[in-house]
Each structure stands twice: as structure tokens, then as C-alpha cells.
Amino acid sequence: MKKLLNCFSQGRTWIISVPYIWLLLFFFIPFAIVLKISLSESAIAIPPYEDLISYADDVLNIKLNLGNFHFLLQDDLYFLAYLNSLKTAFFATVLCLLVGYPMAYFMARAEASVRNVLLMLVILPSWTSFLIRIYAWIGILKSNGLLNNFLMSIGLIHEPLEILNTNVAVYIGIVYAYLPFMILPLYANLLKMDLSLLEAASDLGCRPWKTFLKVTLPLSKAGIIAGSMLVFIPAVGEFVIPSLLGGANTLMIGKVLWQEFFNNRDWPVASAVAIVMLLLLLVPIALFNRYQAKEAANEAK
């Protein structure tokens, strides 16, 4: 009997530990490797960096090279790239919210049969490759692309608009690609909202628009925060979209990282860039977690 119980509790420990093992394997170990590379010195070798630990002539050498981080501070390219990434991600998130909120709202208020169709339409594009969809935007935005040809044919413009290879194209790309991540948590949140609260507000003399501001919006705060995090965090490190749609002067940290890694083959600096980016992202993630914990505590009361 006791043996059985023991077996049981061991099984439980195993199940609980699965996510931790997952984190260890796919987050912590890679992170440690990147951290290690960021502290090493670059070398012309394969792989192109020196080991941290060497052993020669009975001397164990541990060499932690902080020069890569120092280097990031010296060249303001990196600082500007970080800043620009945060800025781009922030405005893209705001745009996603402005576009996504009304969509999520009308989806949640639509009739049940229509609702599922709309939900499918939101999810459907992500069934094709991300890369292909971004390439498709090149075809739409380029100077003799679909958009310009259409606008010229209806006579709205006479010269093609310069959109591709500008920041505008980057915003379009990011908003397009991450919109579902904004819509889905908002939709789930708005769907479970108690509609009698809106009736109560109306009953108490509140006009529809004010009801939205005073009741719907505050009650969907959790959905807004979740959606914004899901857009903001990956958008900061985004590199495919700025590479394909952005111009030469589109400075984003993901692109810089790529260039350091593949063009300059400077793995240690590239790793340092990645580590700093991760640390920057930890701030909003921690804030988000604290908010969620607070909400959960409120709910439990």
C-alpha cells in the first residue's frame, strides 16, 4: 500500500516537473550557452570564439570577457537600435490595439453562428507560412505593386507612393502579422463579459458610448494587457519584417543581431546583443506577471 502511494506521489512529482524540465531544456540551457558566448572573445576559428575555460601548464584559466557588453555601450548604433525597436514595438502594439479592439468587440457581440466564422477568418492566415505572407506584402507595397497600381488606376494618386522599404511598411507588416495575437485574448475576454452589466449601466442613465468607456473598457483590461504583451514582446525582437519590408535606415535590434551573427560573424557581440534584449524584455514580462498574480488573488477572494 505504502509502496503504491509512493509510486503515486513520484508520478505526481514527475508530472509537475515536466514544465520545469521543458524550461530547463529549451530556455535555461540555451540561455546559458548564449551567455557563455557573450562573455567570450571572438576568434578566427570554428566556432568563432574562444573557450571561457582553458587549462594549460597546470593553470586553470577562467576568462570572462565583458568587452562585448562594453562595446555595445561605446557604439550608439546598438543603443539607437534598442530604442528604435522598443519604439516600433510600442507603436505597433498601439496600432494593433486600435485595429484589434473593434474587431474583437464585434466578433464577441456577433451571433453565435457568425462568431465562429469570424474567428476562423482571423486564425486562417496563420495557416500559411509567415515568410510567404510577408513576401506577399512586398508585392502589394512595391512601387508598381498592387496597391500603387490600384490607387493610380482610380486616379487617386499620379505618382506611386513610396511605402516599401520605409518604416510605414514595417508597421504595416508587424500589425498585420501580430493582429491575431491581439484579437484572440481580447475576444475571449469580451465574450465572457456579463452583458447584464451593460444593461445595468444603461438602466442607470449611461449612454452607450459612455457605458463602453466606463464599463466595457475597464472590464476588458486583462484582455488588453494580455494582447499587448503577446504583440509587444515578439515585435521587439522582430527581424524578418524589418529585413524584408524595412529600408536601409530601418534600425531594429533583431536586424542588428542578424547582421552581427551572419555578416560580421561576431558571435560574442551578437550574443551580448541578445542577452541585453532579453533583459530589456524581462521588465514588461515581470510587470505582466505581477498584474496577473494580483488579478488571480483578487478573484480568489
Binding site: 456579463d194 447584464s196 452589466l197 444593461e199 445595468a200 449601466a201 444603461s202 438602466d203 442607470l204 442613465g205 449611461c206 449612454r207 459612455k210 466606463k214 464599463v215 475597464p218 472590464l219 483578487n298 478573484e299 477572494k301
Partner: protein, 381 residues
């Protein structure tokens, strides 16, 4: 042919004439093909508590929601205090509603919930503060002003919801199943308390319930609804003692119904004689409905109006012999189920006055059931 008409003199109809505040005129509501409310006309008097009572799906909530403005009537008009409000949106009606689920705003404190409606009226901060404090005191919730709804018990939430719906001093207060979310014990306590609060404020109130006990405890007048129509309107006593149809008789309390045919009778007769195939003797009752000889009618007799005895009653009418087949002892009273010839069972309740059970009829006893002429009521539909 002899037409007998009568006006039952009822205590309540002698009340002082009261001012009508709400008129519901031939209101109909269709949802697709279903008629949720069918041609309802009602007048609600100023300051009264009126209960709409009916079974599930009879259209009570729909009627209430039309008063609040959440549903637009398919036909008919609603007039509040002389103003036609049929087309007004909810936020322009001087009507407030307490929702069944209370619908308190979860992101606001008790205070903010009560102040919500007042803010829409553009009152000053001080006025709002005073009114909120007054409302909190009225419902005995001053201590909880800063709590959020999820930190309150069910009964406390109800008090807040009531305070919120009274805060704007509406002309009409609507209650949708006010006790629906409370457990049984709290329910009886809150029924009286809610009535006290409403009466102290003096607001006119229309409530919806499917619980007849609740309706009779809380309301001054009832409207019995069935499949979208109002079947009878009256005070609890009127509706209980003088049901006008089988439906109301059966919906409110228990009843024994005998089918029969009206006998020929003299012009000036004060009693009506009815022959029922179920009984050996005729039914005799005081006139309370317009009927004509030969007409098939139903007669309702409430269980507590029937007395049980071992001796054959002396009266010529209104009695029947049977055997006790079941007794439900409920403490203060017992309900007897007596089987009469023909297999039909009749219910009667007996107050357990004496402590000893010696003299009471018991299972298998042969007993006589009797009632007097004032007890039976003719049901015309």
C-alpha cells in the same frame, strides 16, 4: 333561463381611489414567431408593490424588460406618469431595475456602484456623497462602502443592488426575481426587509417572481400570467379566495375542483345549486359569478375550508363520504387525502389544535368531508 349575477363584496375594493402611475396598454411582444407577451393591459397605482407571477416562460421577464426599455414592444404603448415612454431608450427612462444577478460592477466599490447612476445626472460631488451615504444607511451597508462586490455575501450584494436602483429616486422600481439568488432562509428575511425599504422610500414597484409565497408576502397586488397573458389581477386575498379561472386557482395554493352543471333556480335565490356527477349531494354556494342554468361549470374548494368528521353532517349539500388514504403531517397542520367513491382523491387540511392524536382520523378511517356555502367558488374558465 335564469341569469344570476353577483358582485362579491371584497374588502379590498373598498379602498380609497388611487392614482395610476403606469399604464401598460395592449402591449404585445413577438420573438420571431413566439408571442412572449400577448396583448397585456395593466394599470399600476402610485406607491404600490405589484407582482407579476407566473410559471416559467410565461413572459414575465419580457414584460419587465419592456418597462425598463431593454425590449421594444411589437405593439402597444407604455405610459409612465402621463408620458409615453414606449420608444425611450433605457437611459432616458426614470425607471431603475434591480437585476436578478444584481449586475453590480465588479471593478467598482460599493460606493462607486451606488454613485454610478447619480454621476450620469450631473449632480455635484457633495450631493452624490450625501445621497450615497443616505442610501448605504437605508440598506444598512455603511460599513461596507469601500468593499468590492466580490467581497460581499449574497444578501449584502442584494442590499447594494437595491440601494443602487433606489439612489436616483426613480418613479418606478423594477425587481426581477429579487430573491432568486438567495438561499431559502435568507429569502424570507430579505422579503420583509426589501418591502420595508421600498415602503419607507415610497417608490412604486413592479416585481417579477415565479414564487407565489414571495409574491403574496411582498406585493399589494398580483397579476397572474400565463403564456403571455394576464389571467387575473387582484390583491393576494382576492386572487386566493376568488380565483376567476382554473389556472389561477391551481397556480396559487392547492385546490379541489368539482365539475358540474348549474341547476334551475328561483329568480331571487341567494344560493346557487350545482349537480356534480362526482358527488352524491348537490353543491351549494353563494352567488359569485354570472352563470345560467344548464351551464357546465367547475367549483373550487380550498383544502383548509373543508372539515373532517366521523358523523354525517346535517346539511343537505356540500358534503361527501370517503376513506382516508394518506396523511401528511406538517406540524401545525396535517393534510388529509381522502378517497371518495369513484376513486377521486380530495385534499383537506386540518389544524392540529390538540396535542393528542386520539380523536383524529387516521389511515383507512371512513370520514365525512363538508364545507359551507361560502367556501366554494365558481370558475368560469
Amino acid at each position: 333561463m335564469n341569469v344570476a349575477t353577483s358582485t362579491a363584496t371584497m374588502a379590498d375594493s373598498a379602498k380609497r381611489p388611487e392614482q395610476t402611475i403606469l399604464q401598460i396598454q395592449q402591449v404585445t411582444k413577438m420573438f420571431g414567431d413566439t408571442k412572449a407577451v400577448n396583448d397585456v393591459s395593466l394599470e399600476i397605482r402610485k406607491g404600490e408593490i405589484f407582482a407579476l407571477l407566473g410559471g416559467s416562460g410565461c413572459g414575465k421577464t419580457t414584460l419587465l424588460r419592456m418597462l425598463a426599455g431593454f425590449e421594444r414592444p411589437t405593439a402597444g404603448r407604455i405610459i409612465l406618469d402621463g408620458q409615453d415612454i414606449t420608444a425611450l431608450p433605457p437611459y432616458e427612462r426614470p425607471i431603475n431595475m434591480m437585476f436578478q444577478s444584481y449586475a453590480l460592477f465588479p471593478h467598482m466599490s460599493v460606493e462607486q456602484n451606488i454613485a454610478f447612476g447619480l454621476k450620469q445626472d450631473g449632480m455635484t460631488r457633495n450631493q452624490i456623497g450625501d445621497r450615497v451615504a443616505h442610501m448605504l444607511k437605508l440598506v444598512h451597508m455603511s460599513k461596507y462602502a469601500r468593499r468590492k462586490p466580490h467581497q460581499l455575501s449574497g444578501g449584502q450584494r442584494q442590499r447594494v443592488a437595491l440601494a443602487r436602483s433606489l439612489a436616483k429616486h426613480p418613479k418606478l422600481l423594477l425587481l426581477d426575481e429579487p430573491m432568486g439568488a438567495l438561499d431559502k432562509k435568507l429569502r424570507t428575511q430579505m422579503q420583509l426587509e426589501v418591502v420595508n425599504i421600498i415602503e419607507s422610500v415610497g417608490v412604486t414597484c413592479v416585481m417579477v417572481t415565479h414564487d407565489q409565497e414571495e409574491a403574496m408576502t411582498m406585493a399589494g397586488r398580483l397579476g397572474i400570467m400565463d403564456s403571455g397573458e394576464i389571467c387575473q389581477v387582484g390583491s393576494p386575498t382576492e386572487v386566493y379566495e376568488y380565483p376567476n379561472s382554473r389556472l389561477t386557482a391551481e397556480f396559487i395554493g392547492s385546490v379541489n375542483i368539482f365539475e358540474g352543471v348549474v341547476n334551475e333556480q328561483a329568480e331571487d335565490a341567494e344560493e346557487l345549486l350545482i349537480t356534480s356527477s362526482e358527488l352524491e349531494c348537490p353543491l351549494e354556494l353563494s352567488l359569485n359569478a354570472s352563470v345560467s342554468a344548464g351551464m357546465p361549470v367547475a367549483v373550487a374548494v380550498r383544502p383548509e375550508k373543508i372539515s373532517v368528521s366521523f358523523e354525517r353532517p346535517e346539511q343537505a349539500a356540500n358534503w361527501v363520504k370517503g376513506t382516508v388514504s394518506d396523511i401528511a403531517y406538517l406540524g401545525g397542520i396535517s393534510t388529509y387525502h381522502v378517497e371518495i367513491t369513484g376513486g377521486r382523491r380530495i385534499q383537506c387540511t386540518v389544524a392540529n389544535v390538540a396535542r393528542s392524536t386520539q380523536d383524529r382520523a387516521t389511515w383507512g378511517d371512513e370520514v365525512y368531508l363538508s364545507w359551507d356555502t361560502a367556501s366554494g367558488v365558481v370558475l368560469t374558465s
